[in-house]
Amino acid sequence: MSAQAYRLPQGGRIDRTRPLAIRFDGETYEGYAGDTVASTLLANGVHLMGRSFKYHRPRGLLSVGTDEPNALLSVDRGPGRVDPNNRAGAVEAVDGLVTGSQNRWPSLGFDIGAVNDLLSPVLVAGFYYKTFMWPRSFWDKVYEPIIRAAAGLGVAPEGPDPDRYAHRHAHCDVLIVGAGPAGLAAALAAAGSGKRVMLADEQAEPGGALLHDPRATIDGLPAQDWVAQTLAALDGHENVVILPRTTAFGYYNHNHVALVERVSDHLPLDQARDLPRERLWQVRAGEVVLATGSHERPLVFADNDRPGIMLAEGLRVLVNRYGVAPGRQVAIATVGSSAYTAAADLAAAGIRVTIVDVRLAGDCAADVAFAAQHGIEVLAGHTVVGSKGRLRVSGLVVAPLRADGSVGARRTLPCDCVGMSGRWTPAVHLFSQSRGKLAFDAERDAFLPGTHAQAERSAGACAGDYDLAACLDAGFAAGAAAAGVSEARTFQASPTRTGFQPMRVLPTDADPGRVRAFVDFQNDVTAKDLKLAVREGFHAIEHVKRYTTTGMATDQGKTSNMNALGYVAGLLDKELPTVGTTTFRPPYTPVSFGALVGPSKGALFDPVRRTPIDPWAEAHGAVFEPVSLWRRAWYFPKAGEDMHAAVARECAAVRDGVGIFDASTLGKIEVVGPDAAEFLNRMYVNGWSKLAPGKCRYGLMLKEDGFILDDGVVARLAEDRFHVTTTTGGAPRVLALMEDYLQTEWPDLDVFLTSVTEQWAVIALQGPRARDVLAPFVSDIDLGNEALPHMSVREGFVCGVPARLMRVSFTGELGYEVNVPADYGRAVWEALWEAGRELGITPYGTETMHVLRAEKGFIIVGQETDGTVTPDDVGLGGMVSKVKPDFVGKRSLARPDLVAGGRKQLVGLETEDPHERLDEGAQIVLDPSAPVPVPMLGHVTSSYFSPACGRTIALALVADGHARMGETIHVTTMAGFARATIRDTVFVDAEGVRVHARDS
């Protein structure tokens, strides 16, 4: 076939001076700038573009727009840039673009899967539910793998997407969706107000239906000249932003509308790389004008899905906008007037056209006269009963309708293309998403916007106005009202052919149970399937939809929903609105994951919080672990060390010498005010009134339910000032909980809370030599044991910078936590480390910290606790104040189930084999040979090798654990069970003398 054999010699909005070539299924096809992939293929006579989802029937383009159900292509823009399920009419042709058909093997012309078409008598609606019930054992091994292999459209890309995607928030006074005649008129009206106006349209250029209408005139100008003039006028307004290639796909509360802009897919492949591929807009609009147009409905007749059978308006677009002849001999079947305009345009382009009008001659006399003027033959009062052809339509089978409604003798109209027009469906998707209520309009046989829920108005075809002048007038009025201007304007425009006769499924002489007349093309749902669903008792449209899958494909039934609904209503003999309409949900058209993800990938996937000392740790070989959003040094392996060896060395250094640890991530809250102590009394289980300034105390905090929420050391700096620390992960929720109580329960307390987590870098020096390392850097604080005993705090200077120096320990050793302003953190750390080297100072990470505290039986919130653990459960019942009148969680601690026996309590475990390290989370049973289900006593919460003990140690929550000291229990392992003995939780220095570092 010669190149572009179906390109018309003139016309269209393509640029014939800029040729291009694309590839489809390995062949090269030529086209021009301004073409879409669909128009390029059709210019070259290629109608077969895909295989249907279920029956693998050959399919071609149905629509030229985003409502396309059939021609879904895989588009390849280079490595990693493969994107399935693109609608052929919505992809702009770019030189070198590689495209391919889907859902076929081995080739589009010969597809093995088409065997399903022969099996169609058994592959009816509900087939899966009925067939794969039995035998049950077949489900996992046979049915599900087969269904999964057959399911899905297209192939998901496997490599990472190298493209960039941008996000943008925007605000405007008036957002107009759709730049057809109504949208442009709305923008004209709003522009003069000076208010901020945004006009978004999904197509490559604004103009909508006017772009393919060479006949229409507006105010005496050809419509396309009017579009150009209007765009020039809008360009002159700085307050107007026009976004082509931008689809409004989601309409949320408070006029929050999400749009996706295709930024660079239309650019030459080598130019597009620096730009984002797509941009997700989130627009907050004061007022929204919806001018989203309408979709043409197909006609439902036998074999209405052959390649070459398209929507009539789509033929008109091909001829007028792209200069493409969709065929040489075209039959147009219709129930309405608009198809006559399409026929006239095709005839004007030299294409032979015959019209088959289902309406009786007396009902379409004006249209027939119009056709006669253009030399077009009309078969009025004829129905369509079938089509001929295989990979391309070759004939349309029609028959006259007799006065009694019966069908007369068949005849075949030879043709290579069919246009069908089953009237129009207003695109009310966004209106429905805005939670507006739809109202059925019998005259237009369509749902129209009814009750509004948001500051929004619909204008033009999406509101049921199909006449051009009415669209313009309504659009202008909507724009003016949205912008709050009183200007009124009417437009003079050429008349539009409107009017139709509702027809659900075309009358036929065939057994309706044997023919396949497609309603939903993308999911292969036929009129027969709908009938079966109704017969089997599915009478609500939402049930019919799920049983047959009609309207549930990626096109969300844009071309099929009204036909399905009308047909089901007819079968049930109900008024259409009483059957209901389906709910429209975002997105209006499919949106790429890339657009939703935007820049949140790689380093920007999530913030990674680093401490001021993190760069030092990295330079010294630390291995890191994530702790909430922080990354923390986990351990510091030396050359040749594994984690076990490194942690053992770090632990020994702290017990025998001195270790240095970055504790900067601890949550910190400065609690200030005359009622600060009272506030803490109410938040913590223990008391604070008697804590003297300069002293520290360990605090335990519950939720209202009596379970442990958080813990940490609190330092009293002054009568009215506390430095509260929280766990690393708990910092935000503790502050939020405190603020919540302060603002809602105790607004009378004079207390203010300020997060100072990031104000202070915290350097922990732990071990018998800790004081020796610290002393040279402290000039104004007496570090002596008497002057600064365990659990004290002083404000002074360390390394010459203001510091809060706490003598505290999470290791059981002599320890300090040096708080210095964060910008000084690294310098102070380095100074201490340098000075400590002669004492063998050892940096240690979170793993060693965990081992050291477990040896002392100190809990970690979130490890020993899981939101169901009380203070008594972890052996901290003694901390709970019995004299305070109230504190958060106090009342719950008296709940019967919290004081009853049998609660899981924290104990230590020692395995029989001292080298067996239990799994954290492993279940504990008393007797592994007990009959299944074996009663479970509890689980392991922490488990480590303890260098100080020379063996493994574990902590566990065990039912009645405190009363089981010395008992032997069994712990699940990967291999079976391990025997272990229950003991107390303190494995090292049970007397607790080391932390006080008294001179012996």
Partner: protein
């Protein structure tokens, strides 16, 4: 006596170099004194101003005096900003002025760091992650507010026509800077 070699020096939380992409320049602000002042609204209205800084302006407003600024972030919250070496003096003046009034003054000078975002596309770059309306009519020069930028909380101030300051907690600085650079590339 502390030896001089043991005195620590201050380090910024991220690289100090400014970067310009797509006409948007992203540069670190110098270290500053930052004091969080908490005060009951009625008390603030009664006192009117401290250290020359007006306290009873509307939420979101900025008061300036001798290079110091007070940003009113909420009904009972102000951020006082001054040069890095003015911290003690400013704190002393505030404490003096508020003697006898219940308040909290907390040093947060190291908690956050600032980025100056400037250029014709500054507001648009910020709009990649900030849902606020940043048009001059809606967010005029002098306005400051706590808001979000993508996945982080920030304090956003409009300094002059094409310059905004973004303050974030220091551990988020790398993320904020990276996000803004990426946003500037996507304009």
């Amino acid at each position: 006596m502390l030896e001089i070699r043991n005195r620590a020096t201050r380090a910024a939380p991220f690289p100090l170099a400014a970067e310009t992409i797509g006409g948007v320049t992203i540069a670190p602000s110098p270290p500053r004194t930052r004091l969080s002042l908490r005060l009951r609204p009625l008390a603030a209205a009664g006192i009117g101003s401290v250290a020359g800084l007006v306290l009873d302006g509307p939420i979101g407003s900025t008061s300036e005096c001798d290079g110091r600024r007070a940003l009113r972030l909420g009904p009972d919250e102000w951020l006082l900003v001054a040069d890095a070496d003015e911290g003690d003096e400013l704190a002393a003046r505030v404490i003096g002025a508020l003697a006898g009034t219940v308040h909290a003054l907390v040093d947060v000078g190291h908690r956050s760091c600032g980025l100056l975002v400037s250029g014709a596309g500054a507001a648009t770059a910020l709009s990649a992650g900030c849902p606020l309306d940043l048009a001059p009519e809606a967010f005029p020069v002098g306005r400051a507010t706590r808001t979000v930028l993508a996945k982080t909380e920030i304090l956003l101030s409009h300094l002059d026509a094409d310059t905004f300051e973004v303050e974030c907690w220091r551990s988020y600085a790398d993320y904020v800077r990276g996000f803004l650079l990426e946003a500037a590339r996507g304009l």
